[in-house]
Structures are given as C-alpha cells and as structure tokens.
C-alpha cells in the first residue's frame, strides 16, 4: 500500500516471508481455489489469513523485520477478455510449459492489523488487474512428461 500515486511512499507490504523455504509462497486450503479452464475463469478466496506486514518491499527483501501482523482476507476473480496461449521454454534452469488463457482479473481485500499494540482495519477497494492468466503448467522434472492425467494436476485438490 502506498501514500503516493504510482506506487510511491510504500507503507504496508503484506507477504508471508520466506521462513518455510519458499519465496513469499505458502500452502493454503485446497478449497480456496477454483479454476474452470474451459471457461477461462478462476477464483481465489482467503479469509483471516495470518500474514506479516514488512512495511515495504525493500525491507522485506533485505531481511528486515515485520512492522506488524495482520489477518488478511482477499477475493480474486479471473475471467473476461480471454485469449488462449501456449508457451514452452526449455532453456531455463527450471524449464516450463503452460497452456491456458490470459484473462482479466479483479481483486478486493482487507486486513485487520495490529501495529504497536493498536489494531485497525486496512481496506483495498476492488481494482482491475493489468495482467491475469489461468493455465495448466508443468515445470522441472515434469517438463518433458507427455501424459495428461487430469487427476494428477490439482483438479481434485490436496
């Protein structure tokens, strides 16, 4: 979140950190995500998800301490303006291939945050993404795999 237009004067940076060995990536309940690739639509919903606030990206990336903790709720919908794509890149250290759709997306969120013992609510009103995609992907050891087992790619949750 920023005080200034265009992304200046950042005051909040919500991310889950890297303590689990992943870069700002955390497990979430399988029913938080719904994707219909035939319709090029998807949704992600999280409610009261515990997350740190590092204040700024710079502080987060440089290993700084969090300024507060928050219960984050968000809702993202992918859909509209669908364009099919198929990409294969075998030249990366982790090669990947993906097929799906670029789409529009909308998101709104709120966070109940405690900073210095004071709890308050921060809200992000609904906004449109400037980029979205939904896809089926394979990377790394699965890159060269040819089978397309629908039951083995996330369709049945975890």
């Amino acid at each position: 979140m920023f005080v200034g237009a265009g992304g200046s004067q950042q005051v909040h940076d919500y991310n889950p950190g890297e303590e689990n060995g992943l870069f700002w990536t955390v497990p979430i309940p399988s029913n938080s995500v719904h994707l219909d690739l035939e319709d090029a639509t998807a949704a992600l919903a999280l409610s009261n998800f515990l997350i740190d606030d590092y204040g700024s990206v710079g502080n987060a990336i440089s290993g700084g301490k969090e300024i507060g903790t928050a219960l984050l709720s968000m809702h993202i919908r992918w859909g509209g303006s669908a364009r099919r794509f198929n990409v294969v890149n075998g030249g990366l250290p982790t090669p990947f291939r993906a097929t799906g759709f670029t789409t529009g997306a909308t998101m709104s969120w709120s966070a109940v945050e405690t900073i210095g013992g004071v709890t308050h609510t921060v809200k992000g009103e609904k906004n449109e993404a400037d980029f979205g995609l939904v896809a089926r992907e394979r990377n790394g050891v699965f890159f060269a795999q040819n089978d397309d087992d629908q039951n083995d790619d996330g369709g049945n949750g975890d």
Binding site: V33, F96, V118, K123
Partner: protein, 75 residues
C-alpha cells in the same frame, strides 16, 4: 518446515514461469494489479494498493524426492 522445493524466478509481468513452485504440474493463476487501487488506511494514511498474487494447485516433488499434492499462494 515444508517438504517443498522453492524457486526464486518470479516474473512480474507474467511473461515467464508463473509458478513459484518448481518440479510442479497442475493449475496456476497469476494476477498483477497496478498501484491504482483505492485504499483506506487509518494507521499510515495509505491511499493506493498494488499486488502480485498467484495460486498453484497440483503435484510437486518435495525435498524428500517424493510427490505431494498441494495448493499454494504467492502473496
């Protein structure tokens, strides 16, 4: 500690691998929101928000070299 492999290639404009989990196959969603969203912040007075949020739902190879099924979000 999760038995997952991590990946540091995060491509901001979605032109690269959208997954932040490597040795992964499954469903992904990527969304990039510009710093134009209206926000209300009684603590610091923030007025705008931006975000890069992704999901990955599928099968991955963990640090134990075994396959696992999971759902993840990059926030």
């Amino acid at each position: 500690m999760l038995d997952t492999a991590c990946k540091m290639e995060v491509v901001a404009d979605g032109s690269g691998d959208g997954s932040t989990i490597r040795d992964f196959k499954g469903q992904i969603g990527v969304s990039e929101f510009p710093p134009t969203g209206a926000a209300s912040d009684p603590f610091f007075g923030g007025k705008f928000w931006a975000a890069d949020v992704r999901f990955m739902k599928g099968v991955f190879v963990g640090r134990d070299n075994a396959r696992h099924r999971g759902t993840f979000a990059f926030i």
